[in-house]
């Protein structure tokens, strides 16, 4: 499934500081089309910030980011246009609370991609059916469960047909019994070849679906390897300590 010709997303020498506090300290990584890359690491290791930098929601302090061959960190790029090509799903869903689930999904299709209302609804309905919420399009976000909200938020992102999907600890805010349905959806996306870069605390899930795992520690890539190998044979002491702390 993975196309190894050239990376979809390439990050080189990425740094991010807030004043004196260094959050990301020189990160290089590549994500190939169809690949799922998992970012793991303790809270505060820079996973979320890294994703926000890639989506250009955070300004970067140094380094470069490329999407396909285009440098999206270059001065003067149309950031709105770039963001439309990169999906980002948040830990806390962030569905628009004044809009129905259907309207949440169609909003950007209409106002960013310029689709007609009918076209947007058709695409949104297809995604709602796929995530198992085909009959809940008219519901408002606060009327459905957390798992359903997060699935809707993922549908909102993938409906834009992004080149790469960024998932920022999408199960961390969910009750344990709701985590499964969201993970199922990601498994489903993997089957259709969605390119994903995800920060996660679900190590078992990372081992199962990710192709490549990156362990971040204090803003640096401390260890990275193929998923099976990474969990079976961690090389570094701190990786081992982290994995055993997370009971794996």
């Amino acid at each position: 499934m993975i196309n190894w010709d050239k990376p979809r997303l390439r990050v080189t020498g990425l740094k991010k500081h807030y004043g004196d506090r260094v959050v990301i300290d020189g990160v290089d990584l590549e994500v190939f089309p169809g690949q799922i890359v998992a970012l793991i690491g303790a809270s505060g290791s820079g996973k979320s910030t890294l994703l926000k930098c890639v989506n250009l929601i955070e300004e970067i302090s140094d380094g470069q980011i490329f999407l396909d061959d285009e440098e999206i960190s270059a001065p003067g790029v149309d950031e709105d246009e770039i963001r439309a090509k990169i999906g980002l799903v948040f830990q806390s869903f962030n569905l628009f609370s004044h809009l129905s689930i259907m309207d949440n999904i169609t909003l950007a299709l209409k106002h960013v991609k310029g689709m007609s209302k009918e076209e947007a609804i058709k695409i949104a309905q297809r995604w709602l059916d796929r995530i198992g919420l085909g009959d809940r399009g008219d519901s408002y976000p606060d009327k459905v469960s957390g798992g359903q909200q997060q699935r809707s938020a993922i549908a909102r992102a993938v409906a834009m047909d992004p080149k790469v999907l960024l998932l920022d600890e999408v199960t961390s805010a969910l009750d344990p019994e709701l985590v499964g349905e969201v993970l199922d959806l990601i498994r489903d996306l993997k089957k259709t070849g969605t390119t994903i870069l995800m920060a996660t605390h679900e190590l078992a899930f990372a081992r199962e679906v990710a192709d490549w795992v990156i362990f971040l520690e204090q803003g640096k890539i401390y260890e990275a390897n193929e998923a099976k190998e990474f969990f079976a044979n961690p090389q570094q002491e701190r990786t081992k300590a982290f994995l055993s702390r997370m009971a794996l």
Binding site: D80, R83, H98, L107, A108
Partner: protein, 286 residues
Amino acid sequence: MALDDSTISPAERARRDFKRRKKNKSVGLAMLSTLAFAAFVWFGLLATPGWQRVETSFFNWEVAVEAFPRVFDGLLLNLRVLIAAAFLVLITGLLLAIFRTLKSPVFFPLRVLSRGYVDLFRGLPLIIVLYLVGFGIPGLRLEFLGRVPAEVLGTIALTLTYSAYVSEVFRAGIESVHSSQRLAARSLGLSYSKSMRLVVLPQAVRKVIPPLMNDFVALQKDVGLISVLGAVDAVRGAQIEAAKFANFTPYVVAGLLFVLLAIPTVRLADRISRKYSEREQMGSTL
């Protein structure tokens, strides 16, 4: 599903009996204290040495009936001014609030001007604004305007002052929309202005409806101030009638009409804010 008496446990029955007794007692107490209070005010007022004179010059039924038509006609003018001003205030206030949130350097002058505007008109007493607009604009002798009616000038003055207040309400509403909503909108590729228009403003407007209703109630009685410019509204009408009969009753009539006008709005405002606070609080009531 409410439990009926046949299925409840003795424990719940005892609780309900206790609550019922307590409630009956409160109702009785409230009635008693209301009666005592009314009697105190009534006899207290009647006992004042000037009551007889006050009654004939403020609460004269014949004068009230005579004065009513003119005062009521005036009130219709107040209503028209109220509707026009409320509409203009909403638009101007919203625009001012949006100007103040614009970040681009292009809008620097707009941002500064709207800020100055809000500072100025929140500080200026309404009556001074009324005089400045009411006598200042005609003083400019703009021929093409012709003679601007006093009620139009009054509407402008009210709009100037109230839009400053309302813009602060809107601004607070915009700022109260959680930043994650804006972030989500931007991450989908929506531009700043589109995320403002499609995501932030619709949520902000919902949040500010209760405080806006309060400003509307305040505006409702301040429309009576346009009488200082000579517009023949309820207050001015009352003034004319009062002069005719050498009696203050028309003012009382006008006052009562304003109160009657305000009561539905006040009740509606209360109900709306209660609805909103209930939604935020979800459930428990303590």
